[in-house]
Amino acid sequence: MATTTPVPTETECPPIDFGELKSNCVAPRPSIMGQKRGLRSILWLSFKGIVRGLLTTLSYFRRPSTVVTQQYPENRDTLEMFERYRGRLSLIHNEEGEHGCTACQICERLCPNASIIITKDKKNEATGKPALDQFIWRQDTCTFCNICVLVCPFDTLEMTGDFESSVFDRRLLVFNLNEYAGPTAGQLDKLEDDELAKAQMKPMNKYQGPVPMCGGEMDGIPKLDVEKPTDA
């Protein structure tokens, strides 16, 4: 036996008066060996406890349907996320491919970690109003706090259920959300000339434009081939 076995020392502290307890309390359940029991009783209770635990596990072999297993990624086609699930951010485009973002930059100002960068055309030639140029979203710094969706006065943003966003190059996680650079759907409708309205919608690639880190050339890193993003 070791010569010195240190004994835990009770901290020297006068007994504390805890006063009247406001809570109505439940006393703890005694353990098997914590009670004064005979050896036979202890052995029986211990045996019973262990066997009941084993039987619980075994009983699930009898009813395997109650065991939950998510068959992901096999169920990819049928998998449905909840309506409110916060996945990839997206700018809502209507059937004609027009968005409703006026580039008011409220979401950019209230984003807690500057994950949204908006550049705008200060005065559109046709409408005479400011128009969205690029809506850049940095998925790599986004915390999915949902504040941009909540504060948007025109309800043009939404969080989609798309959660599979792994890429091999993190520069791919910074991209444009808008499909064209130009005025909103409402402003385009006001233009009487359809041809003029079409002309205002300059098509936008996901990785187009001077987006920070976005596939652009960096020190020692060649330019990324943006024509072929990873998802295929």
Binding site: V26, P28, G49, T57, V68, L150
Partner: protein, 386 residues
Amino acid sequence: MTVEVSSLKELVEQASGDDRSPDTQEYFVNMGPQHPSTHGVLRLVLKLDGERVLRCIPVLGYIHRSIEKISEHMNYMNCVHLTDRMDYLSSIMNNWAVSKAVEEAAGIEVNSRIQYIRTIFAELERIQSHQLWWGVLGMDLGAFTPFLYGIRDREVLNDVMEETVGARLTMNYVLPGGLMADIHPNFVHRVKEFIKYFRPKLDEYDDLLTNNVIIQERLRNVGILSPQTAVQYGATGPVLRGSGVAFDLRKDHPYGVYDQADFEVPVGTIGDSWDRYWVRVEEMRQSLNIVEQLLDNIPPGDFLVKKLNSKIKIPEGRYYSQLETARGVLGVFIASDKKDEPYRLHYRSPNFNNLWCLEPMIKGDYIASLIGAMSSLDLVIPDIDR
């Protein structure tokens, strides 16, 4: 009162100086920061004599993200989402703590529907936190089965919350002045289904772990924390209640609508790991009772009393507010200089204080007991460092 601050080097040099035993050599071992049973990046410097722990010096700072400093440059709505990343298993309660502090300081009154929903979500969050703890405790002690059972039931509950909130871990649901969204139309029905599902499962938990004599003996008389020490070290939550001190903010200083629910507070006797284990298992039952009582009485009303993009300004001064999370008292201190950003935001996190109870609990005991005792403390490391 004087406080002595000593560096790790001084502590180790001091501890290595007093080698008392003539026949055994005392030595130091680092447990962590990558040890699986520390549940994160916590480093414990252990001074050992054979297998006995003579000193246990926690070393922090491996997951420090300066949440308090970042908050000084954010408005109060944005501060909330960072608290998800502190104690990630009670994120809604953390959100609520900040929102409560801001609301009390800025004088925003929230309606009773918001209070009901917040209370229900806090209790559901407490249940899922304890479910995970229960499974992990079994895994730390060498039983892998409970982990799968705990996670299975937590998955059911997470789905219920995900339908309303939209996220599973970093929820960011409570805002100063209300909630991010109203409850989903299915919510009440699905919570009722969950309660019906989970009550029998708690008996299954008892069969698997609670009534097992091996688990009981790994926990009984291990890591005894006397009520005096617990109060001295500022422990709160199930750790304090396990030591026999009946202090629960939900009863003693009711917030939300806890005063309208009838529930009991489980309290231990001697403060060993078994008492803490039992307190948490019983808390799950009590939380189910609370949710069941409140669920049918959610009054109608708005889910947000303040416009979202309006600036919340707090009058100059210092404000403190606290509530009971799954691990203890989370206090929020705000020093304001009349702006819409805090001048200083400090969190009194429960895990930080609970962690220091480890040394008085475990001094002179075996390393194997240290694992069980630490698991019974239910530490979440990101909450310690913030």
